[in-house]
């Protein structure tokens, strides 16, 4: 029994944790929100969100068990993942597939090429360098965030519910990245969406939270429609959705990069539509900022480090397909770049600390797609991996600040917290420097490599590079705006809050420190080729992913034919831009805090447009929600009630009318005729009736008279 044979256990541990929470959680953690809120006449306290208000409950033994069990399952997954990846590294073919059983064992059908295929998919796992990176990120960052949550969620109702959902999420996320085919990937894909729904709506009694959850779910389903179609096309074209088989087919002689819109380009585009939903890209990014209604650890784990990167993972997983679909790849790059700059521009002016980070995430995901679009898939994954460290760190740090301020999220009521929260400050500073792209920190290596690839790759362009560069400047600016507003300057919160502000307990700060170390060091496995002073060991990340991206690597082989001077120049440019962004933020928010206000007043149109997020939500609301869904639904209900039922009721009326008519006919014509006959009979029989008196004497008289008449007749003859 090796770890590789046990990879099916990796997702199973957190599933077991979730199942235990589902069935026993309430018994373990009897302190129910219902118990608090159901006191007669007391509505759910609006301050449920405010931490520490629910009362410092005694952590009972059940609660302690939950705190051990749920992070424990993720730790077990982490250990098994490390074991499996270590064994994988020793395999010459660097790939290990484990099929448990045939899951969808559907009917046979004929593919587009006329060959026989079966509509089926495995319940199977694939561990290769790409999924190895992903499971390490998911379980590693996931474990740290679980630990952090013990402190962060400690005073909240529904503790078991929270950890149950989180464990369930980790299960689905691991299914997503370990699946050996698109259909099973889709199980994880939908599963993480469901957990995201449940966790965004964790404070379900808050309307805004449940609205945000709804929005996330529905917007994601729209993207999923594209994904499903893409998957169907894949079935139809290749007869299979297993990664290995699809890639083998694509590597065959029948396929070459498509000159225009061919079947592969459409297929790739449909898959990418799915990715825009899950990874919050334009035009489907609108759900992610709202998703910040969820508890902060959720934002860190799901909406920064793992789930939202699923789209990037999926595109990188499909690199063989995308590299044959240049038209689609162009769209991917453009959408990525556009989303990156759009979201960064919105982040410049937001005041909610979590929203800034949310838009930052959207923007960074844009970078990853930009990298995918220019064929630099390994760089996208590299950025995904470094981003997981510093973005999780920044969210958890923000959570620590919010925790310290009793639930405050508005940066206009923060400031001067540097001394109060030193660990949070220094770790977040490391994260901010990393995301800003300061040389030596994780974000620098990945972002700089993206920019270089965008410039130098044959699929890249200078225009995209410029967009990426401007975004980098904006990133540095909004991150340091956040840092200065939060930690520097004078405290702007009320005295009470300030007095209570305190550094978080070690259970929260230790994960921060670990992530900060990651943010500083994680990039050193992807050092630029330009830095020839470093041996190749410092560039192991690209080599590690090579087996997964052979085809893409072959296509991008002619990249990097530019001279070293250009590369140094661009690197210097991006560092300068980052430093410039930090400097502007310093001027605006430390030196001359009145400047931003003046600037906003001098260009109110632009400022309000940015503050209102380019009014995209309003447009969507008017067109899709009110127009299509509500308007269409109402119109069709009316159609049913008036037209279809109108027809039915009209028929009913017609039936009644005709029946009235036949009643009339029956009464006057048919019955009339009958009565006429009877009347005629009556008239005719009247004289006869006169005779029928019923008196025997009369009959006798008539009889006698009759006899006399007859006899008289004969006598007269």
């Amino acid at each position: 029994m090796t770890f590789l044979d046990l990879i099916w256990l990796i997702p199973l541990f957190p599933l077991a944790g979730a199942a235990i929470m589902l069935f026993l959680g309430r018994k373990l953690d009897p302190q129910q929100p219902s118990a608090v809120a159901l006191a007669p006449g007391v509505g759910p306290a609006p301050g449920m969100h405010g931490l520490g208000h629910a009362g410092h409950s005694h952590a009972g033994p059940g609660k302690k068990l939950i705190s051990l069990l749920c992070p424990g399952t993720v730790l077990l997954s982490l250990i098994f993942s490390i074991g499996a990846v270590a064994e994988l590294a020793r395999l010459p073919e660097k790939t290990h597939q484990l099929i448990l059983y045939t899951w969808i064992a559907g009917l046979p059908f004929q593919t587009a090429t006329g060959s026989l295929a079966r509509f089926s998919a495995d319940w199977g796992f694939l561990l290769d360098p790409l999924s190895a990176v992903m499971i390490l990120v998911v379980t590693g960052v996931g474990f740290l965030i679980h630990v952090y949550s013990i402190g962060y969620m400690g005073h909240e109702g529904g503790y078991y519910r929270f950890f149950g959902y989180m464990n369930l999420f980790v299960f689905f996320m691991l299914m997503l990245v370990l699946a050996n085919n698109y259909a099973l990937l889709f199980v994880g894909w939908e599963g993480v969406g469901l957990c995201s729904y449940l966790l965004i709506g964790f404070y379900f009694h808050k309307k805004s939270a449940s609205d945000a959850a709804n929005k996330a779910f529905i917007v994601n389903r729209i993207g999923d429609a594209g994904f499903i179609l893409g998957m169907l096309m894949m079935f139809h074209v290749f007869g299979t959705v297993r990664f290995a088989d699809v890639n083998r087919a694509l590597a065959g002689p029948g396929y070459a990069p498509e000159a225009s819109w061919g079947v592969l380009s459409v297929m790739a585009l449909l898959l990418f539509v799915g990715a825009t939903g899950k990874s919050a890209q334009f035009p489907l990014y609108v759900w992610l900022p709202d998703a910040m209604e969820g508890p902060t650890p959720v934002s860190a784990l799901i909406h920064a480090a793992t789930m939202v990167t699923a789209g990037v993972y999926m595109v990188a997983r499909s690199n063989a397909l995308f590299s044959l679909a240049p038209a689609t790849s162009d769209i991917v790059a453009v959408i990525g770049a556009f989303t990156a700059i759009l979201a960064a521009s919105i982040a410049l002016v937001q005041n909610d600390i979590k929203r800034v980070l949310a838009y930052s995430t959207v923007s960074q995901l844009g970078y990853m797609f930009l990298a995918c679009g220019v064929g630099a898939y390994w760089v996208a994954i590299f950025h995904l991996y470094t981003h997981a460290f510093f973005k999780a760190l920044l969210f958890l740090g923000a959570g620590s600040v919010i925790h310290a301020l009793g639930g405050e999220q508005d940066m206009r009521r923060m400031g001067g917290l540097k001394e109060k929260l030193p660990t949070t400050y220094w770790t977040m500073l490391a994260g901010s420097l990393a995301i800003a792209g300061i040389p030596g920190l994780a974000g620098f290596f990945s972002k700089d490599e993206i920019l270089w690839q965008v410039y130098s790759s044959p699929q890249g362009s200078t225009a995209l590079f410029v967009v990426g560069l401007i975004t980098a400047g904006m990133t540095a600016f909004y991150m340091f705006r956040l840092m200065f507003l939060t930690f520097h300057g004078k405290p702007r919160m009320d005295a009470h809050t300030l007095a209570h502000a305190h550094e978080s307990p070690p259970v929260m700060t230790v994960p921060l420190a670990v992530l900060a170390a990651g943010s500083v060091l994680a990039g050193w496995i992807g050092v630029p080729k330009l830095w020839t002073a470093f041996p190749d060991a410092f560039r192991s990340f690209e080599h590690w992913l090579e087996p997964v991206m052979l085809r893409a690597a072959a296509h991008g082989a002619d990249a990097g034919h530019h001279d070293a001077a250009t590369e140094w120049l661009l690197m210097g440019l991006s560092v300068a831009v980052a430093l410039g962004g930090i400097w502007v933020a310093r001027v605006f928010y430390l030196r001359r805090p009145e400047l931003p206000e003046r600037l906003a007043q001098s260009a109110p149109g632009l400022y309000n447009t940015l503050l209102n997020k380019w009014y995209v939500d309003e447009v969507y609301g008017a067109v899709f929600v009110d127009g299509l869904a509500k308007g269409g639904g109402t119109a069709l209900s009316e159609f049913d009630a008036r037209v279809v039922d109108g027809g039915v009721n009209g028929t009913g009326w017609l039936a009644r009318f005709t029946s009235q008519l036949s009643i009339w006919w029956d009464t006057w014509i048919v019955d009339g005729a009958v009565r006429l006959v009877s009347f005629a009979v009556k008239v005719v029989s009247y004289p006869v009736r006169l005779l029928q008196t019923g008196y025997v004497q009369a009959y006798a008289l008539i009889f006698v008279l009759g006899v006399l008449v007859i006899f008289g007749y004969y006598w007269m003859r």
């Binding site: 006449g41 969808i104 559907g106 059908f109 429609a225 499903i228 179609l229 509500k630 049913d640 039915v648």
Partner: protein, 518 residues
């Protein structure tokens, strides 16, 4: 084993007869007996499952003379398709009776009597291999359902019951005309009067005749499904009926329509069924139903009516699958019929439980039920996810199979389906939000969670949801042959033309080598 189908059919009938003998005053005895009888009705089905051979067509066949003078016989038999529907009927029949334990308070004896009678009719429909027998069972279903809606329904029950009966009667009459047309045409050609379906299949019908008979059948079956625009009886009937009535209506009665299409319209009238005009009309009506039903759902204020309209949308998937006329589409359609029975049945039971506690169906009256009814909420969530086709639950398997079949016909059909999938998520998740999440109304504060009896009602359905979702293989295996029968009948040589292994041709017997399948 020889008379197993008769036993299955007669168990509820015997239950019905004994029930009539129990005095009306003994309410508890009536309830217990009705539950026992319907549970027995389910248990006697189990041998069918264990002895069913997926490699053969109609099994457990019984045939006896009934009205020899006109060629009608008591002819029963089931194939894989019927098997699934028979088991579903027996299971949901029992569960709906079990779910009625506390809700029905007056005229108990009649209520349970109608349900057991209904059970006989529905089982008969799915077993009959004689067209007249089928028609008798078909009509037998109407009467008890009419009374169930009209007596135990809610405020507008009489209107709803009337609408239901008028719609279906008109459908039945036209269907009977179609049957008689076939019957006499068969006599003209063979000189024998018979209602036997296998015999009627041998009739050679000119395409025009098929065309007319198809439309006559269409009205009968489309009303039942219901297909747009013959669907407006459904929201009323489903909404007004008592919970158990809605469950049976949605889960089983609607399947009689799709069953009719697959068992009669397609195999008996293959030229009409593959007429491109007819296919286009059917696809159009199905797609309209999918999108239309979903959009109407979005704007419903009545919880039960929303679920009712969702049936219109979901059954649109099933009819579209049928008219792909390819194995995947038809197999997906059948599977989705079963799935719809399970998940919509659950959704109606869920509404029923809320209604039982609060006596209102207004969505706005509920919110935050998660706080007081957590188990109920979980069950609702699973049912909603299953209904919206979330993997790895049952609905996903059915929808994706239909989709693959539809995609082979046209990308537009597939697009229509996925739009329905996206909208399905929207109305269901929004319903979930409005009822289960949010602030708890004070008037809902005292609601109790599911009782053990209610959990027992949901448990088998939940098992089915996960079973079909995680291990659908046995279902596909059972369906392989009936589907091939239908496809080969409508498009002879389909399997050979598409290089597919024909399940009707045994590889060992005929020498046809089945190509290796990945």
């Amino acid at each position: 084993m020889d008379h197993i189908l008769s036993i299955v059919l007669l168990t509820p009938l015997v239950g019905f007869a004994i029930l009539l003998a129990i005095p009306s005053s003994k309410e508890r005895a009536i309830k217990i007996w009705a539950n026992v009888a319907s549970l027995a009705g389910f248990l006697v089905c189990l041998p069918l499952v264990f002895h069913f051979d997926p490699g053969r067509d109609f099994q457990f066949v019984e045939k006896a003379a009934w009205i020899p003078s006109i060629g009608a016989s008591y002819h029963l038999g089931i194939d894989g398709y019927s098997l699934l529907l028979v088991v579903l009927t027996a299971l949901l029949g029992f569960l709906s009776i079990l779910s009625s334990w506390k809700v029905i308070e007056h005229r108990l004896k009649e209520y349970y009597a109608y349900f057991l009678l209904l059970q006989v009719g529905m089982l008969g429909v799915f077993m009959a291999l004689d067209f007249l027998l089928f028609f008798v069972f078909w009509e037998l279903v109407l009467v008890p359902m009419y009374f169930i809606i009209a007596i135990w329904g809610s405020a507008r029950r009489v209107y709803a019951a009337f609408k239901f009966i008028i719609y279906t009667l008109i459908g039945s009459v036209l269907m009977l005309l179609g049957i008689l047309g076939l019957y006499f045409e068969h006599y003209r050609q063979f000189g024998v009067y018979t209602f036997d379906i296998a015999a009627l299949m041998r009739t050679q019908l000119p395409p025009e005749t098929q065309w007319w008979i198809f439309w006559a059948f269409f009205v009968g079956f489309a009303v039942k499904v219901p297909m747009f625009p013959l669907h407006t009886w459904l929201p009323d009937a489903h909404t007004e009926a008592p919970t158990a009535g809605s469950v049976v209506l949605a889960s089983i009665l609607l399947k009689m329509g799709t069953y009719g299409f697959l068992r009669f319209s397609l195999p008996l009238l293959p030229d009409a069924a593959k007429n491109p005009q007819i296919i286009q009309v059917m696809a159009f009506l199905s797609i309209v139903a999918i999108v239309y039903g979903a959009l109407v759902c979005l704007m419903q204020k009545d919880w039960k009516k929303l679920i009712a309209y969702s049936s219109v949308s979901h059954m649109g998937f099933c009819t579209l699958g049928i008219f792909t006329l390819n194995p995947l589409g038809i197999a997906g359609s059948i599977l989705q019929q079963i799935n719809h029975g399970i998940s919509t049945g659950m959704l109606f039971l869920i509404v029923g439980i809320a209604y039982e506690r609060r006596h209102t169906r207004e969505i706005a009256e509920y919110s935050g039920l998660l706080r007081v009814m957590p188990v109920y909420t979980i069950v609702f969530l699973i049912a909603a996810l299953s209904s919206m086709g979330m993997p790895p639950l049952n609905g996903f398997i059915g929808e994706i199979t239909i989709l693959q079949g539809a995609y082979q016909v046209s990308l537009w059909w597939a697009l229509a389906i996925v739009s329905g999938i996206a909208l399905g998520a929207a109305y269901l998740i929004w319903l979930f939000q409005r009822t289960m999440l949010g602030e708890l109304h004070e008037k809902n504060a005292g609601l109790g969670d599911l009782t053990p009896r209610e959990i027992a009602v949901f448990a088998p359905l939940l098992v089915a949801v996960f079973w079909i979702g995680l291990y659908p293989k046995p279902f596909f295996r059972i369906l392989e042959r009936p589907v091939a029968q239908i496809v080969e009948r409508v498009q002879p040589g389909y399997y050979a033309r598409h290089n597919l292994p024909n399940p009707l041709v045994r590889a060992d017997a005929g020498g046809t080598v089945t190509p290796a399948v990945r």
